[in-house]
């Protein structure tokens, strides 16, 4: 066994706190429940954000990964947590979005004064925090089994959020989601079992040193990656996503679409670049990309044909997930010295981040529109702009990012992916990105056109939306746009702490 050589670094304890703080909050809400859910959550939210920022700062300061070896037990026997540039980025993203969603949900998930405890607030806030811990663990975990537990934690937090309102479709969606995610988990676990049988370790660093091409590795990676794809809802494994994300309350949908489906992708990324034997398998990478292409084109078209706004956004999520999978061949074919110095890598991560922000904003905006109008049928959105102008504006800005129009983050991401695809002569990917952009613009404009049309006679706003909620949505959308100002070059921070490819 090669010593993997993890050593707790300065500030490593932050990683533990990042994972545990939401759990502490969750437990506190569960135990003290009774009316205090929101208050506790609002203590944890800024705390978590602070921790995430501190970790990112530490990574940036030292220029190396922040590591924590739990209990002092060296992997592979023990477990290590590690934040590299990518993890830190995603943790900050997660914290930001959760804080925004928390603000957005403030008041909508509070206990009514005449009750000692209500179902929705308690469940919502506990699950949100559980989800946060799960995401942080996914981003930090270095051990495949630890990551399995984290994924399960994620699933268990996400599924009940889907059926928070208990309607039939949502329960159905939740059950589908759960069952399909479970197949994904089992596939992942099967792969882990095979890897353990072959190498006697599930530590990523250890596997990276040992892994070579043999049937066990191939089958294991095949099962794991495909299992994760099912959890990421990549076409054609997207059966569960649209109803689940469309049925959840807006605040939950935002988190599910923005963050939850990214976690399995993140793991695929890690499996591919950190575990799989190098140099990677071109054909398999192409296969992933092709699924991405299908996802983009197919689901964008379906999004265009949706009648309801939230379903449209949900399908758009599946389509946007597709872009992420384009990364594999682009990065591998690039002539950059290492994966993370290639433009495709940065483009992929940027796409992930900007989509997260944009999609969160979009779902929240859709939620506000639905609250104001009492429905979310696209053909009937006339007057939305008079009712909730800021939300519509946010929707438009977020849409800008989805369409990949400048100056948004989505634009830069797509530009980078497009450049990488052009450089590596992956013309199908080029075509998919372009077509996807056109289709995204079409469905976004379809909504905007409706929302900005003159209201029908007798139009009435159903609910008054507090300004701060609209501003939260706008803030997310603006951050998605502002992301467009990152330089169009490989972003050094994303490469911190990653080991160079041989």
């Amino acid at each position: 066994m090669m010593p993997a050589g993890y050593a707790t670094s300065e500030g490593g304890a932050l990683l533990v706190i990042a994972v545990m703080l939401p759990i502490v909050g969750m437990i506190a809400i569960f135990a003290l429940g009774l009316r205090r859910a929101e208050r506790i959550a609002f203590i944890i939210l800024p705390g978590g954000l602070f921790i995430a920022l501190a970790i990112a700062a530490e990574v940036a300061r030292t220029g190396a990964a922040v590591t924590y070896v739990l209990g002092g037990w060296q992997p592979p026997l023990g477990i290590a947590l590690q934040a590299d540039g990518l993890s830190a980025t995603l943790m900050v993203l997660t914290a930001l979005i959760l804080c925004a969603v928390g603000l957005f949900a403030r008041g909508t998930f509070s206990t009514p004064p005449d009750m000692s405890e209500a179902r929705r607030p308690m469940v919502f806030w506990t699950l949100m925090l559980g989800l946060w811990s799960a995401l942080n663990t996914v981003f930090l975990g270095q051990d495949l089994f630890n990551l399995f537990v984290a994924l399960e934690l994620l699933t268990f937090s996400a599924v009940p959020l889907v059926c928070l309102d208990g309607r039939r479709e949502t329960v159905q969606a939740a059950l589908r989601y759960l069952l399909f995610a479970l197949i994904g988990s089992v596939f992942y676990l099967l792969g882990a079992a095979l890897l353990y049988g072959a190498y006697g370790t599930l530590d990523m660093a250890g596997l990276r040193l040992q892994a070579h091409y043999n049937p066990a590795t191939s089958v294991a990676l095949g099962l794991m990656i495909v299992g994760l794809m099912a959890k990421a809802a990549l076409f054609p494994l997207h059966l569960w996503l649209p109803p689940a994300h469309a049925g959840a309350p807006a605040a939950a949908s935002a988190v599910l679409s923005a963050l939850v489906v990214k976690a399995p992708f993140f793991l695929i990324l890690r499996l591919w670049f950190d575990v799989a034997p190098q140099p990677g398998n071109q054909l398999a990478a192409q296969m992933l990309a092709w699924l991405g292409i299908f996802s983009i084109v197919f689901c964008s078209i379906i999004a265009l044909r949706q009648v309801r706004l939230k379903l449209m956004i949900a399908y758009s999520t599946v389509a946007q997930i597709g872009y992420l999978f384009l990364v594999f061949p682009l990065v591998m074919a690039s002539d950059a010295p290492s994966a993370w110095q290639s433009i495709g890598w940065t483009g992929g991560v940027l796409q992930l981040v900007s989509h997260a922000l944009a999609k969160a904003s979009m779902f929240l905006a859709a939620g506000l529109i639905a609250e104001a109008l009492g429905h979310d049928r696209i053909d009937n959105l006339n007057g939305a702009v008079t009712a909730v102008p800021i939300s519509v504006a946010a929707f438009g800005l977020a849409g800008l990012s989805l369409m990949g129009l400048p100056p948004s983050g989505g634009f830069v991401a797509k530009l980078m992916l497009l450049t990488a695809a052009t450089e590596t002569a992956n013309w199908w990917i080029v075509a998919a990105i372009l077509v996807g952009g056109i289709l995204a613009a079409s469905y976004v404009f379809r909504v905007l056109g409706r929302a900005m049309a003159a209201p029908k006679i007798g139009f009435k706003t159903l609910a008054h939306i507090p300004l701060y909620r609209e501003l939260v949505v706008l803030g997310l959308a603006i951050s998605a746009v502002v992301l467009g100002f990152v330089p169009l070059q490989p972003f050094a921070f994303l490469g911190i702490g990653r080991v160079g490819l041989p």
Binding site: I23, G72, N146, F156, P160, C163
Partner: protein, 310 residues
């Protein structure tokens, strides 16, 4: 020759499994599954994994079986389910499943030499902690984070189940678990067995530090006893708003967390134990976890609240 019993056991397991999937009635399928679970615990014995065998015996024969049978009982009767939607489809599915199984089998029959294992590392480090059961050491020391997170998973699952409470029943008690007809036999069992079960449960937890056994097995036994009492209608499921219940649910994770964070002060960091006190700390954590597991498992089986709080 020496493989014969193993082959027989495997054959039995697979037969029961096939039947479980193929049988038309869902309750029969559950029974089939229980049988598979019992056989599997024997298989675990043959795999020299006594801890797992105990777990499987407690879960497969006890908790999961009960959970599924209760589900059967609460589902409205439906005409027998046909398994096969369309010949093309089941042939295709069968083919694909076989290919996957063949892939796994192919890897299994080509073991790596020397076998990949962490046993030497596990053994080398065990001395520090003073515990005799390597599985417990792995669960509560080397991989304590997994165990902690898994307990959180249980809590989340409980919250998930409770989410399904209709709004007006929130805080109330889950539907009764009572048998459809009160039965003296059941009542007697529920009066006599639980104390014995408690002793055995405590034994499994306590003994688990040095011998096979442990929190989860003990906790499951405790949960089973509680469920038995509820099924015999000697106790009703508690209301989910009860503070004591909530505290019991989180007791394990909280103690675990406290022990974990205490490591920052008394040892080398999170979830690290000072060698001198490792065993007592671990045992206390285990005890708390077992209690929580018992309560959580019981409530998971009981399901979401089905009546308004009193």
């Amino acid at each position: 020759m020496t493989l014969l019993p193993d082959l027989a056991l495997v054959l039995l397991i697979l037969t029961a499994a096939v039947w479980t999937v193929a049988v038309r009635d869902r309750r029969d399928a559950v029974i089939g599954f229980i049988v598979v679970g019992l056989l599997l615990s024997l298989a675990w014995v043959r795999l020299n994994a006594v801890d797992v065998a105990l777990t499987e015996a407690a879960i497969g024969g006890g908790a999961t079986g009960l959970l599924l049978l209760r589900a059967c009982a609460r589902l409205v009767p439906r005409p027998a389910e046909s398994v096969l939607p369309h010949p093309a489809m089941w042939i295709l599915t069968g083919l694909l499943c076989s290919v996957i199984a063949a892939g796994l089998a192919a890897i299994v029959v080509m073991p790596v030499e020397p076998p990949a294992t962490l046993a030497p590392e596990a053994a080398a480090n065990m001395g520090e902690l003073g515990l005799g059961n390597p599985v417990t050491v792995v669960l509560l020391a080397y991989r304590a984070l997994d165990t902690l997170l898994e307990k959180v998973v249980l809590v989340l699952a409980l919250i998930g189940v409770w989410t399904l409470t209709p709004e007006q029943f929130w805080g109330g008690a889950p539907a009764s678990l009572r048998a459809q007809q009160s039965s003296g036999a059941l009542r007697l069992l529920a009066q006599v067995l639980p104390p014995v079960g408690v002793v055995i449960g405590v034994y499994l937890v306590w003994n688990g530090a040095d011998h096979p056994g442990g929190t989860f097995q003990g906790g499951t036994v405790l949960a089973a006893m509680w469920l038995l009492v509820m099924m015999a209608d000697l106790r009703e499921p508690p209301e989910i708003r009860l503070h004591t219940l909530r505290l019991l649910v989180i007791l394990g994770p909280v103690v675990f967390l406290v022990a974990g964070f205490a490591g920052f002060w008394i040892a080398n960091g999170f979830l690290s134990y000072p060698p001198a006190f490792a065993k007592p700390i671990i045992v206390i954590v285990e005890a708390a976890l077992a209690l929580s597991i018992a309560v959580i498992l019981g409530m998971l089986v009981a399901g979401p609240a089905a009546r308004a709080p009193r």
